[in-house]
Amino acid sequence: MALLDEEFLARLERLEIVSRRLRRGIQRGERRSLRRGSSVEFADHRPYGAGDDLRFLDWNMYARLDRLMTKLFLDEEDLAVHLVLDRSASMDFGDPTKALVAKRLLAAIGFVALVGLNRVSLWSPGEGGDVELTHLRGPRASERLFAALERAPVGGAAGLDEPLRRFVGTRRPRGVLLAVSDFLHPDGSWEHLRTLVRGGLETYCLRVLTPHEEEPVIEGDLRLLDSESDAAVDVSVTPALLRRYAAAREDYDRRLAEFCRSRQIVLIPTRTDASVETLVLEVLRRKGLLR
């Protein structure tokens, strides 16, 4: 089953990634660059110098001012878009699973970025080794992206915490980073996200939860097994316990939202039962990632 259908891809082709900041790219792209380049968008003038391309002389100004001036145009460069996928065991819950929703989201964002001739990379630590694609460019590279996402296994206890520190430390990425995860950390620490902000990345965190994580539908005497650790909790599910759980989850969500807001990280919560199309076409555009 394909991650994205043709109709949705056709709609995605009309979108582009929006960066809140102009960034220096590597190759020519469709995005304005801090460097002057050869695009049609005028930027400024400067006195003509030996060796300048005569085609960029402003003859009208020479006629009026009798001075040779060379026209400068904004260069259009590519944007680095980093896609990070959490495929730990906790993502393998829900119907559809959180991992599948995350893959579809990343595929859609990646496709938009590739169509916009942006430089796309995919990185996903986890079971079976890191899944990594770099320097994807152009719409034709979307096939590789989609295939890699589809093949990425889900499971294991590896979260994003330490791998993300390592990723930022070694790659020193620039551009836009989109991480999709459930952001469930037992100690409630999200310091690894702080490294993304320090690196100058424009970070978007898509948090995917299942409806049952928000409103558990369990009853009786259970032994709850943590999917990523050996922890087990014996519970007798009662309305009182469910109320306590809801209060604990809301407290956790509140602290996560405060953490992200204070560090200019855009946190976008969603659920697996929400439509990916709606999320991409409406929510992400509203959040300013796409337009």
Binding site: A89, S90, M91, F93, K98, D182, L184, P186, T210, E213, I218, G220, D221, L222, R223, L224, L225, D226, S227, E228, S229, A231, A232, V233, D234, V235, S236, T238, P239, A240, L241, R244, Y245, A247, A248, R249, Y252
Partner: protein, 622 residues
């Protein structure tokens, strides 16, 4: 506990699925979750807010199991099996019918005897066809009302005839009787049920039966007359002595009224603390004429047991006492006429020993014998006897030698016989040395041992002057006639001839002197005619009611006899908590004779209560 429908216990099978469910429930279902730490926080909060969270699950299980067990017992017809068993039984019911059983302190104002009857009737109606019951009643003595039988009609009639009598409670004989009947029941495990208030007298024997004590009674508040005496010495005004006991715990303040022939003569206000006695004396005028006078001493007011608040006494005209002075030869220190003069109403005749023996053999009523220098071979049946210069046979006193001029070192100055007597200037030329004086009361003691003693002999006590007064200066002293007069008063005060007693205990046998047509009027006014027995005398044995019995022979003046139960244990009506049979203690168990009590309703109520408790616990978890 008995199960009338044992198949109902099959309901216990419900425990199997319950236990299975519990075990399955305890084997929790493993449920993977993305992250468990939020649940950990939630459950920690919940445990912190609920103290008994950990024990709730097993507690609910136990409550459910208990409710199933109770339901099964109810379905099985569980009942308290107190007198019905699957095996034939022999039950001996020993019922107290003493006076304290007439106390009306049971529920609804019923007497203890009424409750005892109800218990017995209940037990009778609960007998199986193969069961047998025996009914024994006791007061001062035991009586088998009905031997072992399963005839309910016979037993019912015997039970309905039970009534309290003015007699003390002595269950020892009844228990021995029950034990002997129980032993004579091979193949049975005998059961003895004592129905009593426990206000009993005497030690109870240890019997080899299963004994149950069905206690009756609820109160101890009672006051009663426990002693009444009438002293009527010739020449002196009669005196009435009464002792009242407050058996309750609260202080008593009541009036004691003396009536003579129905009219109030005197009264005393008595007050004492709980558990104490109070004594009252009344001095009467000399009786006029030769007719006996009826006296009645009564505690005014009502208490739990009115029967012990009245005592009747008969004040009879003084009867001259007959005495013998037995001697070989006349002496200076003892003279029949002088002895007669020392005690009013006493006529002493001097006789020789053989004449005295003939008098005793002839059955002549003699009240006093003074043995002067001689002693009989056996003691005659005379109440008052004085031995002077001789030792009484059968007393244990043995002469081991003699002593010359013993010095008197002490004498009893408070004893009635030696009161106001001075013995310090008495010189005794010779006195015997005595052995076996340990049981005697030494009235006058010398350096060589006692010389004047009050010595017990079978049935009475005799006065002994061990030395010969003629060999001392005692007859020359004032102490001698004073001592003789004191001694005569002391010894004759307790002398009553048959029929002269002012009051006798209930249960005694009354006899008449003559034959002929005869009629007895009982205290309740019922007159019973009687014919003389073979010896020509009439005998009245049915004297179980306190009061005045009037024996009237044809052609003779009626003779009243006052009977009373002056028994301290019957005044103390407090129900006992146990019976002590030998060394065994039998705890009281009220209403032990009830028939099977079906426990269905209590069990179902308990089950409902448990379910409510479980529901409350379950709700508290929410």
């Amino acid at each position: 506990m008995n199960l009338l429908f044992p198949l109902g216990m099959a309901a216990l099978g419900a425990l199997v699925p319950l236990v299975a469910l519990y075990l399955l429930k305890q084997k929790r279902v493993d449920t993977p979750v993305p992250a468990a730490f939020l649940w950990t926080r939630a459950i920690e909060d919940l445990r912190a807010s609920s103290l008994f969270q950990r024990i709730r699950t097993p507690l609910l299980f136990f409550l459910q199991a208990a409710s199933i067990v109770l339901c099964a017992l109810a379905a099985a017809g569980a009942s308290l099996d107190l007198d019905i068993g699957s095996e034939p039984r022999r039950v001996i019911v020993v019922v107290d019918r003493s006076r304290s059983m007439g106390v009306a302190d049971e529920t609804g104002g019923a007497t203890r005897m009424e409750v005892a009857r109800a218990l017995c009737l209940d037990a009778v109606s609960g007998l199986h066809a193969s069961d047998e019951m025996m009914l024994v009643a006791f007061d001062a003595e035991a009586e088998v009302l009905v031997a072992f039988t399963s005839d309910e009609e016979l037993l019912t009639k015997a039970v309905e005839r039970l009534a309290p009598r003015d007699l003390p409670s002595r269950p020892a004989d009844a228990l021995r009787l029950a034990a002997s009947f129980a032993k004579a029941s091979p193949g049975f495990v005998p059961e003895v049920v004592v129905v009593s208030d426990g206000a009993v007298t005497g030690d109870l024997p240890l019997i080899s039966c299963e004994v149950t004590f069905a206690r009756l009674g609820t109160t101890d508040a009672n006051q009663g007359i426990v002693d009444a005496r009438l002293a009527s010495t010739p020449g002196e005004r009669p005196e009435v002595f009464v002792r009242v006991r407050n058996a309750g715990k609260e202080p008593m303040a009541r009036s004691l009224v003396l009536r003579r022939a129905g009219e109030i003569v005197d009264a005393r206000r008595l007050a004492c603390d709980g558990g104490a006695d109070v004594v009252a004396f009344f001095e009467l005028e000399d009786p006029e004429g030769d007719e006996p006078v009826l006296l009645d001493v009564a505690l005014e007011g009502r208490d739990a047991l009115p029967a012990d608040d009245h005592v009747a006494l008969v004040l009879r005209p003084a009867v001259p006492r007959a005495g013998l002075l037995v001697r070989e030869q006349p002496t200076l220190h003892l003279d029949a006429e002088k002895l007669s003069a020392l005690h009013p109403g006493l006529v002493v005749t001097a006789v020789r020993p053989d004449e005295a023996r003939a008098t005793f053999d002839a059955g002549v009523a003699i009240d006093l014998v003074v043995w002067d220098g001689v002693a009989p071979e056996t003691l005659p049946p005379v109440a008052a006897q004085i031995f002077v210069g001789a030792l009484p046979p059968g007393s244990g006193l043995v002469r081991t030698g003699s002593q010359e001029f013993p010095t008197i070192i002490d004498w009893e100055r408070t004893h009635p016989t030696t009161a106001r007597c001075q013995f310090d200037d008495i010189v005794i030329e010779e006195a015997p040395l005595l052995r076996g004086v340990e049981r005697s009361l030494a009235l006058v003691d010398t350096t060589g041992g006692p010389v004047v003693l009050l010595t017990p002999v079978p049935g009475r006590e005799v006065l002994v002057v061990a030395f010969d007064p003629a060999r001392s200066n005692l007859p020359l002293k004032l102490a001698w006639p004073l001592f003789l007069a004191n001694s005569l008063d002391y010894l004759l005060a307790g002398v009553r001839r048959e029929g002269e007693e002012p009051v006798q205990p209930t249960g005694v046998t009354l006899r008449t002197a003559d034959g002929g047509p005869f009629e007895v009027t009982r205290p309740d006014g019922v007159k019973v005619a009687s014919a003389p027995a073979q010896d020509g005398r009439h005998v009245v044995r049915a004297t179980d009611a306190a009061g005045v019995y009037v024996l009237a022979a044809e052609g003779a003046a009626p003779v009243p006899h006052a009977l009373a139960l002056l028994d301290e244990s019957e005044v103390a009506i407090a129900p006992a908590t146990e019976l002590v049979l030998g060394g065994d203690r039998v705890e009281a168990s009220p209403a032990v004779l009830r028939r099977n009590v079906l426990l269905r309703d209590p069990l179902l109520l308990a089950c409902l209560g448990i379910l409510l408790l479980e529901w409350a616990l379950w709700c508290s978890r929410r």
